[in-house]
């Protein structure tokens, strides 16, 4: 079973995303900010990370840069999932090592399409 870490400071959004992912046969874990997500990745690297941008303590982009700088050989798929929908943000995220980008609000169909895009379903 593939694993997904959902990183978002909104408990509701984490819950909704996890429910969709579990329906799609993913095992899910949650983190409420970048710092907690980094610790979770050090314990167990997931196959894919759904990542919000604006979070307290460590933002999504800071987390991604830290993750990409410290992982060697273990390269999880990172899908940004954010309301930061400008091209400048998207370009910055791709430059930092994001694999895909979901613009909020999104629905199950979009999440499914993006996971298919990165070859996870």
């Amino acid at each position: 079973m593939k694993t997904c870490l959902v990183v978002d400071d909104s408990r509701v959004i984490r819950k909704v995303a996890c429910r969709i992912l579990q329906d799609l046969a993913f095992e899910t874990d949650e983190a409420e900010n970048g710092a907690a997500a980094l610790m979770a990745c050090r314990r167990h690297m997931p196959d894919v990370i759904l990542l919000d941008w604006n979070m307290p303590q460590m933002s999504g982009i800071e987390f991604l840069r830290a993750l990409r700088s410290e992982t060697s050989g273990n390269h999880p798929v990172v899908v940004f999932c954010t309301t930061e929908n400008d091209v400048a943000n998207i370009t910055e995220a791709l430059g930092a090592g994001a694999d895909e980008y979901i613009m909020k609000p999104y629905d199950r169909g979009i999440l499914e399409a993006k996971l298919a895009e990165v070859g996870l379903i």
């Binding site: 929908n85 400008d86 091209v87 370009t91 994001a98 895909e100 613009m103 629905d107 169909g109 399409a113």
Partner: protein
Amino acid sequence: MSEQDFAYLADVIRRRSGIALTEKKTQLVENRLVPVMRRFGFKTAAALLKELQYGHEALIQAVIEAMTTNDSSFFRDRKTFEEFRDIVLPRLLVDRAATRTLRLWCTACSAGQEPYSIAMILDDFNLVAQGWSVSIFATDINSEMIARAQDGLYSQFEVQRGLSIRRLVANFSQEGEGWRIADHLRRMVSYRTFNLLDSYGWLPDLDVVFCRNVLMYFDHKTRLSVLDRIGDILAVDGALLVGPAESMGGYTTGYAAAEGAPGLYYKAKPVPLRRRAVG
């Protein structure tokens, strides 16, 4: 809606568009008529149907458009586009190397997602810069869909279904809440409101025809007619792509299925007389 009214409406729609409506779809038809009733000021479906009998052309067109299904997305049924990119196109690039001309037709393009997906693939091959003349003809019976396709502006939801983020950023520009297709891709596509029952005389000889999720709405006779007439304007070595789950079995002997590529057909070569079985 009474059985008699439904039968009358189904007959008008079949004659004018080829779309076959069965009585199982009565509820769906009634729901789809509501916005037309509102637009033209009819209080009941019966009143609308009565007016249809006087040949009110704008009303007939609106009713037909209301019956069409316009659900689409970029790179819908990915397999079809992989077959186009990996099987059809490489062969055409060799066969058309002398003329450097490609002519394609999307028979039911809805809001333009299919022709623009094709344009993106052709753009990946950088054909225009290499001197190729590329034309995509895109038609739909629904004039509102054609207007949307020409406009080329899509919502955030629409661009997130089927497009990778890299394709989105490379081929669209952000415009308010929406995303607009790049000019160089829009220039590759010529749009036209067109009924597949009408004459195909305005189309040139074609190298590839996309006829996906259309045939299923027609009765047997109309399917046969459409496929035969596509065959008439398809180049001898041209390709026809229907949906991967759509079968042409039993419709016509004019095409041969490509092996290992569901939904891809080539024109069947006539069997030479001396090879035909005798007796």
